[in-house]
Every structure is written in structure tokens, then in C-alpha cells.
């Protein structure tokens, strides 16, 4: 396999983006930031891949105008996934692995506030027996949370600890749209919302976009002192049915990391849109107690749809770039109650050989 690294990252997160669902005006400055970081321009990028959703935007082919933000004369080598942009990064990584290109720019965008997000997402469910009931995302997560609580796998205190740490860490994140820790006791004293979830257990509806530049071998070394080298990248999926899987576990996360070496991971950015989901992920990943989880504040501080996963890559890579960690993990999820999961290991030191 080729050595491929994350060498550029830019993001925006906001409660409500005052602009079009194409997000073109948000993408232009993001790409500019990535060019600034690498010294490259669009002509240096070999492949482009994005992630977004027509149903988030409320129209067919909502992604087609996004390429305007790139400037596409001459035309570009480009693809799109109807998934979180973390999977676009996977497709771009594959493209680099084939040797066809050496660099890629991956981006995601979404204006979740254009609709009622927790209702829109009911369209992801079984169209015959589930969607007609319009089960909202929060309710599905609530059922998962209660399953774990009543099975004794986690408790409300553990969930509150996740929230308190996340919102405390989010104070240092300029892009966080919810921030400010208090104490576990104070959080537990707040009223239930969707029993057993309190509002702070749920990620806020977030608009946003993010972009990442990948580069192989010497192309990466030429633009970054400490590229975040991808040393493991895999994903997997579970059944969607809430009744036909163990909601306290994430078999697809476990399956994704089966071939990855997680030993020595110092920082993990986990895409957990609900507090208890971080607990599920930590268990499946077998992360030691001294691993710093979501120093960015994670998805509880801001979770732009179709970008929330990709942002975890950028936040984790930054820890490698600035030398504060040698080995980091990024995770992305998609679908209800952690149905689909992608895991990436990045390292500051290159592997001796492959």
C-alpha cells in the first residue's frame, strides 16, 4: 500500500447557515484555507470526492452545483457519495492507492437546518414498516440508550461524564456551537427531554462543511512537516433494524478495526452523536483509559450532517500535525443508532515498511 497522509483541513460549523443549501459560498473559503495550508491550488489536486445528501437539501441532484466552488475548467476527476464525507475520504484514499492520482481533496457539506432534521432522517428507515411511523432520530437513540442502561452496560452518570468532558473541551474549539461544561451532578439535575435522554445527550442540529486534503508519499512530505499518515482505514455495516441487533454493541465497529493496530493510540476522535454512543464505541475499540477522547468536544458540541465524520479526521490529524500526538484514531458513523462505522488510524511517524 502507498503511504497516504492528511495534509490539509478546514471546517465551518454553525447553528444556522444563512445561505443556500448548495453551500457553495461556504466551500469557497474552505478550499482557500486548504490551499493556504499546502501551498497548492486546484490544479495540484488529482481527485475530488464529496459527501452530501439530497434529502438534507430537499431537492434532487443537490450536489451538482458544489463543483462550482472548485472551478472546473478544465474538468476534474471527481466523484460523490451519498454518505458522510468520511466515506468520500475512503473513496479518495482508494483512488490514491491505485496509483492513478497522488493527491485528493475531500469535502462534505450540509444545511440540516433547512428542514426538521430528526424527522428527515426517518426516511433512512425501512420504508414499509418504519418510515410511515416517522420515528425520529432522538427516539431511536433513546431506545438504544435505555437498552444499555437497563442492561447495566452504562448508566446516566457515565453519559453525563461524556457530556461534561465534551462540552468542557469544546470551550477551546472555535467551531463548537454548544460548549461549556459544568458538573456531572448539575447535568444529571437537568430535566429529561426524550426520557432517558436529556437535551445535552443529543448533538445539536448543525449546519456546516469541511474539507480535507490527502496526499501520497513525497507529495505529502513536501507540504507538511508532520503529515498524519493513514496507517489503517476500514469500515463496516450492521443491519438497520432496531430489533435485530444488540443495541449495546457495535459489531461493525469491531469488524472494522479487526485488521487495524490500535496499540499506542493517544487521541481518539469518535463520531458519537449521542452521549451513550461514545461509550459503545470506546468499548468496541478497546481504548485504554489514558486515551484522550474527543478533545475537540466531539459531535455533542457540533454535528453537521454529512461532515461530522470527516471533521473527526481533521481534528485527529491536527494532533499529529502539531506534535501533540504520534498516533491518533478517527471514527465516523452513519445511519440510526451507529449502524455504519468507519475507523482510521493516523500516525506521525511513518511505518518502517509495508
Amino acid at each position: 500500500m502507498r503511504d497516504v497522509a492528511v495534509v490539509g483541513f478546514a471546517q465551518r460549523q454553525m447553528e444556522e447557515f444563512d445561505g443556500s443549501p448548495t453551500c457553495v459560498e461556504m466551500l469557497v473559503p474552505l478550499f482557500a484555507e486548504c490551499y493556504e495550508q499546502t501551498g497548492w491550488n486546484r490544479h495540484d489536486i488529482g481527485f475530488w470526492c464529496s459527501g452530501s445528501s439530497d434529502y438534507l437539501a430537499g431537492r434532487s441532484f443537490s450536489f451538482v452545483s458544489a463543483v462550482d466552488a472548485i472551478g472546473v475548467i478544465p474538468p476534474i476527476n471527481e466523484s460523490h457519495v451519498e454518505m458522510d464525507a468520511a466515506w468520500a475520504l475512503y473513496e479518495a484514499w482508494l483512488k490514491i492507492q491505485t496509483g492513478e492520482v497522488d493527491t485528493a481533496l475531500v469535502y462534505g457539506f450540509g444545511k440540516a437546518s433547512a428542514g426538521v432534521l430528526r424527522r428527515t432522517l426517518a426516511l433512512q428507515l425501512d420504508p414499509y414498516s418504519m418510515t410511515p411511523l416517522w420515528p425520529d432520530t432522538v427516539s431511536l437513540a433513546g431506545i438504544q440508550a435505555r437498552t444499555g442502561i437497563e442492561a447495566g452496560v452504562w448508566d446516566e452518570r457515565a453519559m453525563a461524564e461524556v457530556v461534561n468532558r465534551s462540552l468542557t473541551d469544546a470551550e477551546k474549539n472555535e467551531y463548537a456551537i454548544r460548549k461549556g461544561g459544568s458538573s456531572v451532578e448539575e447535568l444529571l439535575a437537568r430535566p429529561m427531554y426524550a426520557d432517558p435522554l436529556r437535551k445535552h445527550d443529543c448533538s445539536p442540529v448543525t449546519d456546516g462543511a469541511a474539507a480535507i486534503i490527502l496526499a501520497a508519499d513525497d507529495r505529502a512530505r513536501s507540504v507538511a512537516d508532520r503529515p498524519a499518515w493513514i496507517t489503517g482505514l476500514a469500515h463496516n455495516v450492521d443491519p438497520i433494524s432496531m430489533g435485530n441487533r444488540d443495541l449495546t454493541r457495535s459489531p461493525s465497529t469491531a469488524a472494522a478495526v479487526r485488521g487495524l493496530d490500535l496499540g499506542g493510540v493517544e487521541v481518539a476522535e469518535l463520531h458519537a452523536p449521542f452521549s451513550h454512543q461514545e461509550l459503545v464505541l470506546r468499548t468496541e475499540l478497546g481504548l485504554a483509559d489514558d486515551v484522550a477522547i474527543n478533545p475537540s468536544g466531539g459531535a455533542l458540541a457540533g454535528n453537521p450532517m454529512f461532515t461530522g465524520g470527516l471533521i473527526r479526521f481533521g481534528e485527529a490529524a491536527k494532533k499529529v500535525w502539531d506534535g501533540s500526538a504520534d498516533k491518533v484514531l478517527a471514527h465516523a458513523t452513519s445511519g440510526p443508532a451507529l449502524q455504519q462505522n468507519l475507523v482510521c488510524v493516523m500516525e506521525g511517524r511513518e511505518k518502517a515498511e509495508h
Partner: protein, 387 residues
């Protein structure tokens, strides 16, 4: 480093119809998948990863349907990707699946593309009015008809060339048991006599709206040894440009020209008209055959219609085009591109049945989408590529 070899060893498709009322969405996908697996002499348990493609989710009213379909498609416990690049998606999805093998990540990949258009109405899904805008949009036909008019003006093509394409593809479809339309007796005259829908496009010059799916099994060199007739991937390209840009050539888009040039280079082809034995080209409206013949470099600009008019693209012509009946005879939008890629593979494998062209060694599969802005194409060959 170079791409690792990849080959198509299984092709499956549904019987395409206006409404497959006998099947659910999962059942539709599985009909194509099970046929591809049978062709490849494999089961779902042999498959390492699954790549799903389809066009807008509004068609079926399910957001990211691969999520709810994961279990029925046998994807649970495997990597699952979902590609969406508008009308070119069937081709792009096949290319992403091939990339998984070419990158050395997986050995046996199954890819499926589908559209169950009877769940809604494509004209509606593509024409939901946007506030502030002029509501003149009228589906894909309304979008492409002005550009067809531009082609006719620019090339000086006689107005019956579109009808020649439609009659040819409908006749070819009679030889394809999977095709949606089996319109006996379609002639140039009958096409010319059909209703003008989006002037200059007549009813018989338009694609149908179909329920259908297509699936491919794409494997590495080792696995391909077990196949009696693998179709090797000799080249694959994706190119995109803007829907609209100042002075953008909407008749002969640069993205298509660039993609073709890159594809021929990858596949070692210097004279495509001579070296490509047949082509499955995405022609949803008849006039796009001559337009894409030029765009792909089979003929000089302005002369694609001459190849069509001379019979050069008929089953017995110098470049048989759309022997399956093409998009004009079956159009499950999300699957239409993969059908082109799959039919090209069937031809080089000598497995196309009644619509087989003798001695096909190299074939083109082509798809485009959006406002003629997304292109995906591949060349497959009977021999393992040497480069």
C-alpha cells in the same frame, strides 16, 4: 505504482419493466445480484465488499436506501459504499467497485445499481420547483432538448437521424430478453410520426421510465483464473464539469472529450473507431448517439450523424452501438450506466446472447449525468491488459 488487474466475471440484470409490481426494492436488487453471482459461480458469502449506486433518493423516497437494504443485500459485516453521481452513477459505481480491486484492498467485490422509478414519478422528482426561479423546467427531456436543437443547428444533421437511432435501438432490444421495451415494427417512419414531446425530441426518441437493477462481480487476477471468460478492465475514467458556465460547450462538453482522451490513452487505443469493436453508450434521447460519437472521438466533430446515417452503428456496422437496445429501451436511471458497463462486459465475454456481436475483443461502456457534466466510462477487453 500501477493499478492491479481487475476483471468482471459476473453480470446480472433484472427484467426491466415500467413497474416491477412483483418485487420490493430489495427484491429488485437481489434479482440482479443473484444472477451476477450465479454467472460468477459465487455466493454472497464469497463477496468481500458491496458498492451500491443509484440516482436521486427522491425517486424512491428513501434517504440512503443502502442502509435499510444492507441486510437484504448481504452487506452486513462487510464494507458498504453508496455512490451518487447523477445519471452517470451506474458507471461511476462500477468504477469505484473496480477501484477496490485495483487498489489491492479487496479480491471479490459485488456492485449493484438500481432504480425503482415506479415508486414515484421521475418528472416530478427532477422538477420540484425552487422558489424565486422560473418554473420552466420540464424533466430531463426539457433540459436536453435545447441542446439537441443546438447540435442539429451546429452539425447540419438531417432531422431524421434521431429517428434512425431510435429505430435501431428498439430493433436491437427485440434481441434482449431483459429490455423494457419490445416494440415490434419500430421504423424510422413510425418514430418520425410519433408525438413531438419536447420539440425537437419526439416520443419515440425518448427513454422509458423503468424499474430495474444491474449487478457486477469484479475480482482480482487470481480469482479471475476460475472464470472461463473474464472481461478485463483496460481503462476507466471519471470527469466532471459545471452544469452551466460561461461559454461551456453543452453539445460537446469538454469533460466528455477529456474523459475519452484519457480513457483511450489508458487502454492503449489510438484509433477508437478501428480498435473498439462495439460500444454501449448512454443515449437517453436518440440524438445523443451522434453527439457522443463525436464527443468520444469516434468521429470528427460534426460528423457523428454521418456514421449513424450510414448504418455504421447498427449491429452489422463498423461500430455497433447499443446492441442491447440501450437506454432508449430500458432506463432504470441509477442502473442505466451500469447496464452499459455490464453489456460491454457481456460482449467481450461472448455472453450477450442474441444481441452478441461476433468477435468482440474490446468494448466501451459509457455513462453521463447531470446537465451533461458527469462522465464515467470504461474499456473492457477479452485479454488481460499488458500495461
Amino acid at each position: 505504482m500501477a493499478k492491479l488487474p481487475a476483471a468482471v466475471v459476473g453480470v446480472g440484470q433484472t427484467h426491466h419493466r415500467a413497474k416491477r409490481e412483483d418485487l420490493s426494492m430489495a427484491g429488485l436488487c437481489r434479482e440482479a445480484m443473484d444472477r451476477a453471482l450465479l454467472d460468477a459461480n459465487m455466493t454472497l458469502d464469497d463477496i468481500d465488499a458491496i458498492v451500491v449506486g443509484k440516482a436521486p433518493d427522491l425517486f424512491e423516497g428513501v434517504m440512503m436506501p443502502e442502509l435499510y437494504l444492507a441486510e437484504a443485500l448481504g452487506a452486513v459485516g462487510k464494507p458498504l459504499l453508496r455512490v451518487h453521481t447523477a445519471g452517470s452513477v451506474g458507471g461511476s459505481t462500477a468504477i469505484v467497485a473496480a477501484t477496490l480491486v485495483q487498489a489491492g484492498v479487496h479480491k471479490r467485490v459485488l456492485t449493484v445499481a438500481f432504480e425503482k422509478q415506479s415508486e414515484s414519478n421521475a418528472m416530478w422528482a427532477l422538477s420540484v420547483p425552487l422558489p424565486f426561479n422560473m418554473p420552466v423546467h420540464a424533466g430531463a427531456g426539457g433540459y436536453f432538448a435545447p441542446h439537441v436543437r443546438s447540435y442539429i443547428r451546429r452539425s447540419g444533421a438531417p432531422t431524421h437521424v434521431g429517428a434512425i437511432v431510435a429505430a435501431k435501438d428498439r430493433q436491437n432490444a427485440l434481441k434482449n430478453p431483459y429490455a423494457h421495451l419490445h416494440n415490434e415494427g419500430t421504423t424510422v417512419e413510425s418514430v418520425m410520426a410519433s408525438q413531438m414531446l419536447w420539440d425537437p425530441i419526439r416520443y419515440d426518441e425518448t427513454c422509458p421510465s423503468s424499474d430495474g437493477a444491474c449487478a457486477l462481480v469484479i475480482v482480482d487476477e487470481d480469482t479471475a483464473k476460475a472464470s472461463p471468460n473474464p472481461a478485463w478492465v483496460h481503462g476507466s475514467v471519471m470527469r466532471s464539469e459545471a452544469t452551466s458556465a460561461s461559454e461551456r460547450d453543452q453539445v460537446n462538453p469538454q469533460a466528455g472529450r477529456d474523459a475519452a482522451a484519457a480513457l483511450w490513452k489508458q487502454a492503449g487505443i489510438t484509433n477508437p473507431l478501428e480498435q473498439i469493436d462495439m460500444a454501449e453508450i448512454y443515449v437517453p434521447f436518440s440524438w445523443f448517439e451522434p453527439m457522443w460519437l463525436e464527443n468520444l472521438g469516434f468521429t470528427p466533430e460534426g460528423e457523428g450523424w454521418k456514421l449513424t446515417e450510414s448504418g455504421g452503428t447498427a449491429m452489422d456496422g463498423i461500430l455497433p452501438v447499443n446492441c442491447s437496445g440501450g437506454v432508449l429501451s430500458s432506463n432504470p436511471i441509477g442502473a442505466s450506466g451500469m447496464l452499459r458497463f455490464g453489456e460491454a462486459a457481456l460482449q467481450v465475454r461472448g455472453a450477450a446472447g442474441e444481441h452478441q456481436v461476433d468477435g468482440v475483443r474490446r468494448a466501451l461502456g459509457h455513462a453521463y449525468g447531470g446537465g451533461s457534466q458527469f462522465f464515467s466510462m470504461w474499456v473492457v477487453g477479452a485479454e488481460k491488459p499488458t500495461n
